[in-house]
Symmetry: C2
Amino acid sequence: MNDTERTGSLPLPTIRRYPLYLREIKAMISRGDLHVSSAALAETLDLDPVLTRKDLAMAGVPGKPRRGYPAQELENAINRALGWDSVTDAVLVGAGSLGQALLGYAGFEEHNISLAVAFDSDPAKISLTFHGVKVRPMADLPRLVKRLRIKIGILTVPSSAAQACADALVAAGIVAIWNFTAVQLVVPQGVIVQNVDLAQSLAVLSHAISSQGQA
Amino acid sequence: MNDTERTGSLPLPTIRRYPLYLREIKAMISRGDLHVSSAALAETLDLDPVLTRKDLAMAGVPGKPRRGYPAQELENAINRALGWDSVTDAVLVGAGSLGQALLGYAGFEEHNISLAVAFDSDPAKISLTFHGVKVRPMADLPRLVKRLRIKIGILTVPSSAAQACADALVAAGIVAIWNFTAVQLVVPQGVIVQNVDLAQSLAVLSHAISSQGQA
């Protein structure tokens, strides 16, 4: 997905910046601020003030001249725009080291994502609980995902199992996959895949260091 | 960093695709293949064959007409281009749930990144060992990072501590930061920052689902 594409009703770069604004707005509210100016937000986050003004305007809360936006209303509007204003259920497939870690990721609770259950093919992991989430056998996936009407599937399985697990999730009714595997998943139209490939990110870092060493 | 930028000697999109090729080439070698064709790689990975041909050419291994590239030489060349052909030492700062998980990330060993030590400010975590890596107090960071000539710092601390920890890493001689916090770090020129913001990624997913619901 490149930065000129849109998902849903907002431009992708705006969606990516919304969590940054949210954190700052929350910090301002907790310091007792009742209003937030786009100029102050832009300065704190080292962003172009024109960009920030446009981003905030898209949240649909009218600002007041010289005072800025009502802080709490703006926080609520951004949460609503991101779908973080109501609880969305998710499951995780692959309770290995990365999967176990993600089950403890504080961002899920913070953003109203509720992890209902995890699945794994390793019999030794079944019935274990990580960060309060129980691991179930893969065979239970279709039934449980359907019954609980789960929307999000988080994929942290080995590459070799990635496509098959994605297929199982989609067949069970999942509409969005957070893909931590290196596999470019093939999914039907309408299913959203968001990729987080740590090896690709690490490659950029390693290459830059090794090039420095040669210079 | 956008896709037209370069880090080091290769274009960024090429660097990002190299780990994908590597996995496929390794799989082909383990199946007994002696040669790899760019067309076959492109097809397996669902990439533009012209793009893949250019990417592989940049690795500097001459291909043979009709046979393709010698597989093992190509694997070695890509590893060399990414700086994954020799061991690079890294430290992790912030041994919370995400930090502990990353300590168990198999990609480090696979790509010759050796995690020497982790640091945390929580006295309860000091001297604990996660996935074979010992946690040390923050006060030891400057001395240890300098003495061990560490190149990479992995940052998994809360946002409020991120810039101060980055400053400490840079002061101790770190040249590259893998930043898992949401903070846009300010670092001196020459220090590389690679950001992995899970909340930004999750925002794209959540927004897409909530927009679908409205449609």
